[in-house]
């Protein structure tokens, strides 16, 4: 497990040096919010506020697709991924280390996006900030698990930018579904329905464990 932590920290260190993924993912997410503003003319009406949680998660998914694509491309330079494969560790830890780093990078973009949403749709995020953060984390675990895993697969196919969304999106339906339901309920009533949280936990567990166990086959040749 130490190696997974080392990998996560290494990724974050590289990211800190160049900051390109955080910045570009964040910019992209903000652009998406801007697009939503123009796609729903009339600003913050009652109707758009109803849909805001859904749109927030659409923004998060798009940001993840955008940002995760690069997760493994930095490992292709100098065949660094072979360096990871040589390590005498269970390869699932490589996956977890990468996924954790991706989660941190995504979280930064997500936090700012939530603020942007609060502004555009006049939502009171501060009242539910803690629980919203928890919910976003829960949803993002599934998002990053599947995203990191398929990013490693897609990076070795011919049209990686196209493959990643194709592979990810059908499998993200449970995450999206649970997360949107929970977020909507959170903004409307301040409480989160248990069945949504349960769905997210089960989905995250299945995706994380499945990816951990199968990652060896992705790295192998």
């Amino acid at each position: 497990m130490r190696e997974g932590v080392a990998l996560c920290l290494k990724d974050l260190l590289i990211e800190w040096r160049s900051r390109d993924r955080v910045v570009s993912t964040l910019l992209f997410a903000l652009l998406v919010v801007l697009v939503f503003h123009f796609a729903l003319p009339g600003g913050a009406t009652a109707r758009t506020q109803e849909n805001a949680p859904g749109l927030l998660w659409v923004a998060y998914i798009l940001a993840a697709l955008f940002g995760l694509g690069r997760a493994f491309s930095l490992e292709l330079d100098n065949d660094a991924i072979a360096g990871l494969a040589l390590a005498p560790v269970e390869r699932g830890w490589i996956f977890l280390g990468k996924a954790a780093a991706n989660l941190v990078i995504l979280a930064l973009a997500q936090a700012v996006t939530a603020l942007a949403f609060a502004l555009v749709f006049e939502l009171d995020v501060f009242a539910v900030a803690g629980r919203l953060a928890g919910l976003v984390l829960l949803g993002s675990l599934g998002l990053c698990a599947i995203g990191t895993f398929f990013s490693a697969v897609a990076v070795r196919t011919r049209f990686r930018e196209v493959m990643l969304p194709l592979l990810m999106l059908p499998l993200l339906v449970p995450v999206l579904s649970g997360a949107v339901r929970a977020t909507t309920s959170l903004f409307e009533t301040g409480s989160v329905p248990f069945d949504a949280v349960q769905l997210l936990i089960v989905t995250d567990a299945i995706y994380l464990i499945g990816s951990f166990l199968l990652f060896d086959f992705v790295v192998d040749e």
Partner: protein, 215 residues
């Protein structure tokens, strides 16, 4: 080459056609209800096809035997056809009975997602280079996607649209005299899947062997 599965399919198909033709017409829905005998078996076949794909992929990863990959590919290519037929026949039936082309009811939606999963699987196979890597990546995706299908069902069932599907099996809404043709058609669908997958798998096998003969 005449296969046992082919003969069985021919027999079942003939029997089912006769049963469906002579089955009573639904009093409320009219003749269009008979599309049920195509729509539902296709659904069964579509899901069975993906189970073949997912399980064969897992076996491939375990045994590293190329033959399992042929079964996985066959399952996907045949399954996607049944899935498409299912999704295409759904709206035809829906329009005839409920009045509109589409409804986001759980079963239809999950099958639609299955369709996307099938397509993603086939695209992954076609965009990956190297047959060993293709088999590996496809197997891995097949396993995760197979695990995701019940999750999808659970998720959509919890939060999805109105349940408009007739609960044929549970609530006994099949009228008298319809149960036999229904059962026969489902069996025919599964036999059709089995037969076509076997044929497709055989084609894959021959395709793999040809270069060795000529090369």
């Amino acid at each position: 080459m005449i296969r046992a599965s082919g003969i069985l399919l021919a027999l079942f198909f003939a029997a089912t056609t006769w049963l469906v033709a002579t089955a009573p017409t639904d009093s409320m829905q009219g003749a269009i209800q008979k599309i049920l005998y195509v729509h539902v078996p296709c659904a069964f076949a579509a899901y069975a096809g993906f189970i073949v794909t997912g399980v064969s992929g897992a076996l491939y990863l375990w045994r590293r035997d190329e033959r399992f990959d042929w079964w996985a590919l066959a399952g996907a290519e045949v399954g996607v056809v049944f899935c498409t037929l299912n999704i295409a026949s759904g709206p035809i039936w829906a329009r005839g009975t409920w009045g509109h082309w589409w409804a986001w009811d759980p079963r239809l939606t999950v099958t639609l997602i299955l369709w996307f999963i099938y397509l993603a699987y086939l695209m992954l196979r076609s965009f990956t280079e190297g047959s060993e890597r293709t088999a590996r990546f496809a197997a891995v995706y097949g396993i995760l996607a197979l695990a995701a299908i019940p999750l999808n069902y659970y998720a959509i069932d919890l939060f999805g649209g109105a349940a408009m599907h007739p609960e044929n099996l549970e609530r006994d809404s099949l009228g008298a005299g319809m149960r036999l043709p229904f059962a026969a058609s489902v069996l025919t669908g599964l036999i059709a899947l089995w037969h076509l997958v076997t044929v497709r798998q055989d084609i894959a096998r021959r395709h793999a062997e040809v270069p060795e003969i000529t090369g």
